[in-house]
């Protein structure tokens, strides 16, 4: 049971960080054309680059957080944290592209 908890908490934390990385790559790519060009040249398209990096970050972070075993945070709290990060990330990206277009 403890092992299942450790795997699940590692997956939730990795998802939270992966979504944060997607937002960072997106905004940083828009603000820094050199980085976006690097993504395009390396992965053939900037969106493919972000997709591959996000999957890699997710897969690498799961074993890292599994080994760290953060026992003090409950699954419910972690899931609510993921919900909050997903909603905030949505709002942040929408607001960013709105401001980038009009201001």
């Amino acid at each position: 049971m403890q092992d299942k908890y450790s795997i699940l908490s590692a997956i939730i934390i990795s998802s939270i960080l992966t979504i944060s990385v997607i937002v960072f790559l997106t905004i940083f790519g828009e603000l820094n054309p050199v980085f976006k060009t690097w993504l395009t040249k390396t992965f053939s398209h900037h969106w493919i680059g972000k997709s591959i990096i996000s999957v890699l970050v997710f897969l690498v972070l799961i074993p890292v957080f599994y080994v760290l075993r953060l026992k003090k945070i409950s699954i419910a709290v972690l899931i609510w944290l993921l919900v909050a990060v997903a909603n905030l990330s949505f709002g942040l990206l929408l607001a960013f592209f709105f401001f980038e277009t009009y201001f």
């Binding site: 997709s51 997903a86 592209f97």
Partner: protein, 150 residues
């Protein structure tokens, strides 16, 4: 546009909608008794739907949208549809497989979800957020399709 690309676009929409249907089923049946197997299947199929929608939609977006559809929208009456909605949509879509995967694994490992109110509400919150993001992505997709040629 070739029949292959049309079928990819239709598959992208169909699979995304299917993911929403599976997660809606998850929400509707969450508080019924002896339904853990059903919830596991719904969350698993939702995850698969979003992953395949990601792949086929991504192929269409990378090989066709950028050079054929995007210029039409940008030169039309509603360029903000691409600049704001499409740019947001193509990135928030990346959240969906991860959110659905967490829901599936959490359901798969969760034997006593119903006994723990805090835990069960967090599952519902996650499912509701995933459905909401998917629905908003769908609405943005409809606006993008509507802006082509206007």
């Amino acid at each position: 546009m070739s029949y292959f690309l049309i079928s990819l676009l239709v598959s992208h929409i169909f699979l995304g909608t299917l993911g929403i249907v599976f997660l809606t089923g998850y929400l509707l049946y969450f508080f019924r008794e002896d339904n853990l197997g059903f919830l596991k299947r719904m969350s698993f199929f939702a995850f698969l739907s979003f992953v395949f929608s990601w792949i086929v939609g991504g192929y269409y977006y990378v090989t066709y949208y950028g050079h054929a559809v995007k210029p039409i929208i940008l030169s039309g009456e509603f360029p903000w549809v691409h600049k704001v909605l499409m740019e947001t949509k193509e990135h928030i879509f990346l959240f969906l497989p991860f959110l659905a995967f967490v829901l599936f694994i959490a359901t798969y490992f969760g034997k006593n979800i119903k006994d723990d109110k805090k835990l069960s509400y967090s599952y519902i919150g996650l499912c509701f957020t995933t459905v909401s993001v998917a629905l908003l992505v769908t609405i943005m997709g409809m606006a993008i399709s509507g802006a082509v040629g206007k």
